[in-house]
């Protein structure tokens, strides 16, 4: 795998990551097939940057996030954090790495324990990494809350007393509690009002600048991803279809799926003429997909070769890569 354009500060490297979920039927619970949630993903992430991960619902974005955090055990592939492999580690061996990688969730209502005060929720992380005394933890909680723009007195309150945007900030404070280097944002703004979305995005940005955080930013809102990302990966049924720097992917995308996806995004201009044909059909089920390209049954450019051979990520130029052999010459 080639070095990223941004040099050698590689914080996370993922190679050939796979997760297949078995589908069981019958009294004996025999495995009748597999859901290929993540089917061979390669990624490389340099420190302080943001990788945007875009794709339709069910394309494996969230599974990929949970795989990287080792919340789900991968079936194949390797994950390297700062050059050290974390794939085969047991729970105990994984524990020192936990503090470097955190996650922010989509649903601000489900992401905080309703029976714990905000302070207690944030303290959980501090306790897990062993921040000494109660007094130190309390002080750090106040510090973290102020960092995300929530007054310190909120620490004694319960999550149901806060609005969605406030809860999302609290979720961010909890993720920050262990001083992570990498934060996976799993659709952090999808459940929020547009005005609140902007606040949270700006908060994430200023935190990135202040603390040198690296983000994997999962979203289905293409404008949001364009705004926050340095690099963008477009996922479809467990595969990365196109990968590259954000401006390249947004302006010179090659893959027919990228084109369909990006051109389907609404343009805030009622008089804009649009010349795209919507994709036919639905996303096929990830259950036992046919061999070859995953996009074959919806692709306008499909040919016989797409249905047979394994299609890999081809390098276009620099970091820009695309999983389609037909568009390479363009």
């Amino acid at each position: 795998m080639k070095e990223d354009s941004s040099g050698n500060n590689v914080i996370l490297k993922v190679q050939g990551l796979k997760k297949y979920f078995p589908v069981r039927r019958g009294v004996l619970q025999r495995v009748i097939g597999w859901i290929m949630a993540v089917d061979g993903v390669d990624l490389e992430l340099s420190g302080g940057k943001t990788l945007g991960l875009v794709g339709e619902s069910g394309c494996g974005k969230s599974t990929l996030a949970r795989l990287i955090l080792k919340l789900v055990e991968p079936d194949a592939g390797n994950i390297f954090f700062r050059g050290e492999e974390i794939t085969g580690l047991s729970r105990v061996e994984m524990k020192p790495y936990r503090r470097f990688m955190q996650i922010i969730f989509q649903d601000p209502f489900g992401s905080l324990n309703p029976r714990m005060t905000v302070g207690q929720s944030i303290e959980e992380g501090l306790r897990a990494v062993g921040v000494g005394s109660l007094e130190q933890r309390r002080r750090r909680v106040v510090e973290l809350l102020e960092m995300v723009g929530i007054p310190a007195l909120a620490a004694q309150r319960y999550p149901h007393e806060f609005s969605g945007g406030q809860r999302q900030r609290i979720g961010i404070a909890r993720a920050l509690s262990v001083d992570p280097e990498l934060i996976i944002c799993d659709e952090p703004v999808s459940a929020l009002d547009v005005s609140i979305q902007a606040q949270i995005l700006n908060l994430l940005r200023s935190l990135q600048e202040g603390l040198g955080l690296t983000y994997i930013f999962i979203a289905h809102d293409l404008h949001v991803v364009e705004y926050v990302s340095d690099n963008v990966a477009i996922m479809y049924l467990g595969h990365i279809m196109e990968y590259g720097p954000a401006e390249v992917v947004y302006s010179q995308h090659l893959h027919p799926y990228s084109s369909a996806l990006l051109e389907a995004a609404p343009v805030p201009d009622p008089s804009a003429k649009r010349s795209w044909t919507p994709l036919a059909g639905d996303v096929p089920s990830p259950f036992n997909p046919p061999p070859g390209c995953k996009f074959q049954n919806r692709c306008p450019l499909v040919e016989d070769r797409c249905r047979k051979g394994e299609i890999t990520l081809y390098e276009v130029n620099g970091a820009h890569r695309v999983r389609c052999w037909k568009v390479l010459g363009r």
Binding site: Q102, S111, R115, S121, V129, A154, G171, V178
Partner: protein, 385 residues
């Protein structure tokens, strides 16, 4: 991004929190709206006070109220009748100077006996349900949290061997014991090192996954539910020495299935919640996730079923005592007062009516409070009142 600072402090000022209301205040406000539940709670508290004072007054070497003092000359006196002071010795005169609830066929003070019985009912109810809830939380929690983990053939062998060794400890010769124990240890060692490796031949068979923990526990629940529990209790009580503790334990051991199912269902949905994932990502231990994050969120339906379960346990105990399988006779329980009283149903109806009404009121109050609790703890049902 310089302007982002101002934007995110702005929301700090806009942060406007509603008046602080603790969970308890909220609970109380909800309870006050629900009349029946409030009545249930009041009766429950009264019952608790009565039972505790009853226990204090009727125990000891010379109790204030002696529930087993026989005054044959004063038998079957109706409630509120005065004792015939001429025929009684000084220490036989009831403390209150009156037979508040009458006397039974042996001239024993029914008031004292009811007080003593209240304590029995209370402890049976709470201890039996406590046992049931404890087993329910443990098994339901295991099934809900670790349900996916498979049970291997080797583990089944180990379980069978351990049961064999423990139950036949004294009967087996030293040689067979040694063989059994060494096989068990060998299997355990095999399990420890076989997690990730592949084996061929018979060793592979040992590593085969038979069923999951979840299937094992839900199967056990279903089997337990198949028994008609009252007859199961009757059988067990008939075999065990009659004692109040045996009754509590037996009732507890036969009524945990509801709690286990509730906890399992709650755990299954909670373990997929984001806050549990967040805790795992933070590196919080399994133990802490279960007891700090999941149990407090899963306890509400268990609490409801426990409250109603107490009523059931009190009824079961009364039924057992009525049938003569309960607490041995000199000790009074509501069930055996009722049972003794039924022979004098027409001559001394208060002997039947008083314990009957007491059981009815207490069981009803627990049921009402339990149902109120369910409405209060379940926000979806809240607005219907």
């Amino acid at each position: 991004m310089q302007d982002s600072g101002s934007e995110h402090t702005l929301s700090t000022e806009a942060l406007d929190l509603p008046a602080r209301q603790t969970r308890l205040q909220e609970f109380w406000a909800q309870l006050r709206k629900n009349r029946l539940a409030l009545i249930g709670l009041v009766i429950f508290v009264l019952f608790f006070i009565v039972a505790v004072t009853g226990m204090v007054l009727t125990t000891g070497t010379s109790p204030q109220l002696d529930s087993s003092l026989v005054r044959l000359q004063e038998k079957l006196r109706p409630p509120l009748s005065r004792p015939n002071l001429k025929s009684l010795q000084a220490d036989e005169v009831p403390v209150l100077g009156i037979y508040l609830l009458g006397t039974d066929e042996l001239g024993r003070d029914v008031f004292a006996r009811m007080l003593q019985g209240a304590w029995v009912s209370l402890t049976v109810g709470f201890v039996a349900v406590g046992i049931a809830v404890l087993i329910g939380i443990i098994l339901g929690g295991l099934s809900g949290y670790y349900g996916h983990s498979p049970v291997r053939v080797a583990q089944v062998f180990i379980a069978v061997l351990v049961v064999l060794v423990v139950t036949n400890w004294s009967r087996l010769s030293f040689k067979t014991l040694a063989v059994l124990i060494s096989i068990t240890v060998a299997l355990a060692v095999f399990l420890l090192f076989s997690r990730k490796k592949e084996f061929g031949g018979p060793l592979f068979l040992l590593n085969t996954q038979l069923f999951s923990v979840d299937m094992l526990i839900t199967g056990l629940i279903d089997i337990m539910l198949c028994f008609p529990s009252f007859f199961l209790i009757l059988t067990v009580v008939a075999l065990l020495p009659a004692s109040i503790y045996n009754i509590m334990i037996v009732i507890g051991l036969t009524s945990w299935m509801g709690a286990a199912r509730f906890v399992r269902a709650e755990f299954l949905s909670l373990r997929e919640q984001d806050f549990v994932t967040a805790a795992r990502a933070l590196g919080v231990s399994d133990w802490r996730i279960i007891f700090r994050h999941m149990v407090p969120n899963a306890i509400a339906p268990v609490l409801v079923s426990a409250t109603i379960g107490i009523a059931g346990a009190i009824l079961t105990e009364a039924g057992l005592s009525f049938l003569g399988f309960g607490v041995p006779p000199p000790h009074a329980t509501w069930g055996n007062i009722l049972s003794d009283g039924k022979n004098y149903l027409f001559d001394a109806p208060w002997l039947t009516i008083i314990p009957g009404v007491a059981i009815l009121v207490v069981v009803l109050s627990f049921n009402l409070f339990g149902e109120g609790l369910r409405d209060i703890l379940n926000p979806k049902l809240r607005e219907r009142h």
